[in-house]
C-alpha cells in the first residue's frame, strides 16, 4: 500500500521523560505519528520481538523509523539496534541513535551495526525534518526504483530482440537509479545510444 507523505510512524525510545516529551513534539510537528516508549525492552515488546505475544496487533501500525537514545538503563540503544538488525522481520526498519555524548568509537560502532545515523542531543527540529525527508525518500524510492527496474528489464529484452528503437522514459537513466542497482538494466540501457529521449514531466 502506498504510504502517504505525512504518515511516517516513528517509534521513539528514551528513558528520560523530558526527552520523550520533546522528541514527541518534534516528530508531531514534522507530521509523523509517534509511539514513545521508555526502554529498549518496551520497544521490543511493541515490535513483537520479546517472545511474549502482546494483545496489540503489531502489524496494524507499521513502524517506519526507530529513534533511540544510546544510554539507557537495562538495554542500551546499541543493544536494541543489534536486536533489531538481527531480526529478519525488522532489520529493514531504519534505526537512528541519539546521544548527548559525541564519542567517535561509539558512533562508529553504531553505524557499523547498521544505524542509519547518529544524532547529537539535544535533537533539533531541523534534525528531525532532515531525517523524515531522508526516510520518506527511501520509502518512496524503493517502490519506484523496483518498478523502474522491472520495467527496465522487460524493455531491455525488447531492445535486444527488436531492432526498432524503443523510447525510454528519461527517468530510467537518472544517476540515482544507476547508482542504486549498478547491475540493473537501467545502467546497461543508458549505455545504448537512444535516439529518442522524451521528457517525462
Amino acid at each position: 500500500m502506498e504510504k502517504m507523505a505525512n504518515e511516517l510512524h516513528v517509534l521513539a525510545v528514551d528513558d528520560s521523560h523530558v526527552d520523550r516529551k520533546v522528541i514527541e513534539r518534534l516528530l508531531k510537528i514534522s507530521s509523523c505519528k509517534v509511539t514513545a516508549v521508555e526502554s529498549g525492552r518496551r520497544a521490543l515488546q511493541y515490535l513483537g520481538l520479546d517472545g511474549e505475544k502482546t494483545s496489540v496487533g503489531i502489524d496494524g501500525l507499521k513502524v517506519n523509523l526507530i529513534l533511540t537514545d544510546y544510554s539507557m538503563p537495562g538495554m542500551t540503544g546499541y543493544e536494541l539496534l543489534k536486536k533489531i538488525k538481527e531480526s529478519s522481520a525488522l532489520s529493514k526498519i531504519p534505526v537512528v541513535i541519539m546521544s548527548s555524548e559525541k564519542i567517535l568509537p561509539r558512533i562508529d560502532r553504531c553505524l557499523e551495526e547498521g544505524a542509519e545515523e547518529f544524532l547529537l542531543k539535544p535533537v533539533k527540529l531541523s534534525d528531525v525534518k532532515r531525517l523524515r525527508d531522508f526516510i520518506l525518500r527511501g520509502e518512496g524510492d524503493n517502490e519506484e526504483t523496483e518498478k523502474k527496474i522491472k520495467e527496465g528489464s522487460s524493455r531491455k529484452r525488447k531492445f535486444h530482440e527488436d531492432s526498432s528503437t524503443q523510447s525510454m522514459p528519461s527517468s530510467l537513466v537518472t544517476g540515482h537509479d544507476i547508482q542504486s542497482k549498478p547491475e540493473s538494466s537501467a545502467a546497461s540501457v543508458s549505455q545504448q545510444p537512444l535516439p529518442k529521449q522524451p521528457k517525462i514531466g
Binding site: D15, S16, H17, V18, K21, V22, I29, P122, L125
Partner: protein
Amino acid sequence: MQRQAAYMRRSLFDQEYLDEQFIQLEELQDDANPNFVEEVVNLYFTDSARFIRNIELALANGPYDFNKLDDMMYRFKGSSSSIGAKRVKSECSQFQEYCNQRNIEGCKRAFQGVKQEYATLKSKLDTYFQIAREAS
C-alpha cells in the same frame, strides 16, 4: 506586563541561565500547544527533584560508587541540557569531573553548586512563567 516578561526572558539568556535550546523549545510552541515550554519545564522540575534526591542519598555515606554517581549526574545533566539550563549543566559537568578524579569531597562541593544553580533557575523560571501567563 508583557514588557516585564520580555525583560525577564532577555536577562535569563544574558546571565546565561538559559541557552539556545530553550529557544528551540519555544519554537515548538504554537496556538494548539500554547503551554508546551512550561509543560516541559515542569516535567524537568519533577524529574530533577528525584535525581537530586537520589544523588544526595548516594553522597550521604561511603563506600562511594563513582560510576553510579557519574551515571546519575549524567541523566540529570541530560535533562538540564534538553531544556537549555546552561548554568546547571555546567555545574553538573564539574561534578562529573570530580567523579572521574574519584574525589568525593570535590563531588560534594560540586553537588552544592548544582543544587544552588538549580534552585535559582527554578525560582526564576517559576516567576517568568507566572509573569508570561499574566501578560497574555
